[in-house]
């Protein structure tokens, strides 16, 4: 299949955006030229500053040089695949990463989330839905101060909502923004059970979303904050109900 050469920004002058927001930068890593171009065009129309690259290598390099606010990544990429791309990016970066894939097997979804993705969207994603997701992620990235509580303590765990920090026995723990938001929601209600749907609503702003998002994020958090993630002391599962954070 021959794909016609693409000359991006020249032919697409984005519409002036009606939002008063600061222009948000989005990095699109997608090997299919047509999909990449159409996403770039559509997101630019929605007021985002978008850069699109066809490979994970270029994406990782670009993100190092000029970090975007959000990264959209396909899973099937030539060279480094999407899973590995997410893993590598996560080593140094807590930027929200959204997977956009045509694959919707549980296996792929869970693997991508475990690699460190914040959300998983199955193609085709309507632009309206995509921008709603991006806005939710941006709000999350910004609004990490639920209350003016200086520090929340759960045993050896310290959560500093204002500083956006988590410490374990005094040592800082590297968590992504989504993980931090999830932890704060649970910490806001110590000892109380929050259902997966409640957490999806509060952290991801999903009304009836995929509960695997919560489960995988809880799993990731446990590996960072628990001594034994298989026998959690603080972030515990309440069978049939949801999760709670306890001292």
């Amino acid at each position: 299949m021959t794909v016609p050469p693409i000359r991006p920004p020249a032919l697409a002058a984005p519409l002036p955006t009606s939002h008063d927001e600061v222009v948000s930068a989005v990095l699109v890593i997608e090997d299919d030229d047509r999909i990449r171009l159409s996403l770039v065009l559509a997101l630019e129309d929605e007021g985002y500053a978008v850069s699109g690259v066809p490979t994970a290598e270029e994406g990782l390099e670009l993100q190092r040089r000029s970090p975007a606010d959000t990264v959209l990544v396909d899973l099937m990429l030539p060279g480094i695949d999407g899973f590995e791309c997410i893993r590598q990016m996560r080593r140094t970066d807590d930027v929200p990463i959204v997977v956009i894939s045509a694959r919707d097997d549980t296996h792929d979804i869970v693997a991508a989330l475990e690699a460190g993705a914040d959300d998983y969207l199955v193609k085709p994603v309507a632009v309206k839905e995509l921008t709603a997701r991006l806005r939710a992620l941006r709000r999350r990235a910004r609004a990490v101060t639920p209350e003016a509580v200086p520090v929340l303590r759960f045993g050896e765990l310290e959560i500093l909502p204002e500083a956006g920090e988590v410490r374990r026995r005094g040592e800082p723990v590297a968590v992504t923004r989504t993980e931090f938001q999830l932890l704060c929601e649970l910490a806001d209600h110590p000892g109380r059970v929050l259902s997966r749907q409640q957490l999806l609503q509060r952290v991801w702003e999903y009304d009836g979303g995929d509960e695997r998002l919560v489960d995988v994020h809880v799993g990731r958090l446990r590996q960072k904050i628990e001594d034994d993630s298989a026998a959690p002391q603080h972030l515990v599962t309440v069978r049939g109900l949801g999760y709670k954070l306890q001292r």
Partner: protein, 450 residues
């Protein structure tokens, strides 16, 4: 006609065989024993009778007018034998009681009178008796009546023993049949178990050919069938995944490009704007169609049951569609053990169906009673005609009968998906007439209590 099971037939066959064999053996041995005992007894009786007759004859010959009764009394006959003498038409016995004479049959007397010694078995006073007639002289016959009661008792005991043995053998045969049927059935049970495992999704279940060498053909053809089946399933699965991937990727481009067009509609001339609108609408519909087809292709998988707040699910489905949440009426336990994703689609599709064909849903009723979860969605539309009711849950059936229902919205797969999801829960989807007009779609989900 109900045919007895293989196992029952094997057991019955073994039991009948054992019974026939043991009955034949018992009968034969009874006959042999009886024959030899009787023969022995008879020859003993005859020998004794001849001996006694010789004694009597000697007595008769010795004197001119012998005292026959005294002669008879002198015989040593023991308890069982009774001696009689018939001389010149008169009966003589050891005691005055001559009742025993009635035991001597007339035919025997006739034979004896003609000078032939003979033996006959008769029944006297209900007991088997042996009568031996020995002619001593003209008009003089010596009879000995020998009771066979003892022998009869022996034979009766033998009969009981042999019958008991026959019954025990038949039972043992049945037991052997039970064991044999189990033994024979075991590989079949294994095949059945493996088939069941495969039916419930364990595609790696195979039979061990080494375990049943006699069933080698069955084992190998079963395994070949399962291999072929799982290969085909795997092909289908991969094909569905490929198709969905290949359809979804271009749709992503179309969807994003259409959104650019839609956003710039105001800048387009009217004809172009209309065309752009058509393209965008059809892309949206095509997208829905692809999603529905993928959903249907996968809906034969088992439902992933977990506790779900179905009322909350229904309310959020209403919210998404701009319907008032107040139409949701929930009764009973709020948490159902169902597949959240599937039930979300069931609710959404029923609401969309009501909007497209029934003038909008007016009520969603959710009841959980004794494990049976029931979802009912009512609308106030024209209802569903009886001929449509039968096929409304089939694929690509879209208000065929009534022109009023023939919209171009929807994919024609929504209700088929509802039916498939109900089936995945072991339940049913039906359409009824709503009292007061309109249609009532009902989905029953058994096993909705954990």
């Amino acid at each position: 006609m109900i045919r007895a099971g293989l196992r029952a037939r094997v057991i019955a066959g073994f039991a009948a065989g054992a019974l026939a064999l043991s009955a034949t053996m018992a009968f034969a041995s009874y006959e042999i024993v009886r024959h030899s005992l009787l023969g022995e007894r008879e020859s003993t009786a005859i020998r004794a009778a001849y001996y006694d007759a010789a004694v009597i004859r000697a007595g008769i010959v010795a004197t001119a007018d012998p005292d026959l009764v005294a002669l008879l009394r002198a015989l040593d006959t023991g308890e069982n034998r009774r001696a009689l003498l018939h001389r010149d038409g008169e009966w003589f016995a050891r005691s005055a009681d001559l009742g025993t004479t009635s035991a001597v049959p007339a035919a025997l007397q006739e034979q004896a009178r003609s000078g032939r010694a003979s033996v006959q078995r008769v029944r006297a006073d209900g007991a088997p008796t042996l009568v031996v007639a020995v002619p001593i002289a003209t008009d003089t016959v010596f009879y000995e009546v020998d009771s066979l009661a003892e022998l009869d008792h022996t034979l009766r005991v033998l009969t009981i023993v042999l019958t008991a043995v026959a019954i025990a053998t038949a039972l043992a045969g049945a037991g052997l049949g039970l064991y044999a049927s189990r033994y024979v059935m075991r590989p079949l049970v294994r095949v059945a178990q493996a088939a069941q495992d495969i039916a419930t999704g364990a595609s790696d279940a195979r039979l061990d050919p080494a375990q049943e060498p006699d069933l080698g053909r069955l084992t190998s053809s079963f395994n070949a069938m399962v291999d072929e089946l799982s290969a085909r399933l795997e092909r289908d699965r991969r094909f569905a995944a490929d198709v969905s991937h290949e359809l979804r990727s271009p749709l992503q481009t179309l969807s994003a490009a259409a959104s650019v067009l839609t956003r710039r509609r105001a800048h387009l001339d009217e004809r172009t704007a209309t065309a752009a609108g058509l393209v965008a609408d059809e892309i949206a519909r095509f997208q829905q169609l692809v999603n529905d087809l993928i959903t249907l292709a996968r809906s034969d998988r088992a439902a992933q049951r977990a506790p779900v707040d179905v009322a909350g699910l229904a309310r959020s489905a209403c919210r998404e569609r701009g319907l008032p949440e107040s139409i949701v009426h929930a009764e009973g336990e709020p948490s159902w053990t169902v597949d959240r994703r599937r039930i979300g689609q069931v609710l959404g599709n029923l609401l969309d169906n009501a909007t497209a064909y029934g003038g909008g849903a007016v009520a969603i009723r959710l009841t959980l009673d004794d494990g049976l979860g029931r979802i009912e969605v009512d609308d106030e539309g024209p209802g569903v005609s009886p001929e449509d009711k039968a096929e409304i849950f089939d694929r690509f059936v879209r208000g065929r009968a009534a022109g009023t229902r023939g919209g171009t919205d929807g994919t024609g797969l929504g209700l088929a998906i509802v039916a498939q999801h109900a089936l995945a829960h072991g339940g049913t989807a039906t359409v009824l007439d709503r009292p007061g007009g309109g249609a009532r779609f009902r989905v029953d989900l058994p096993g909705s209590t954990a």
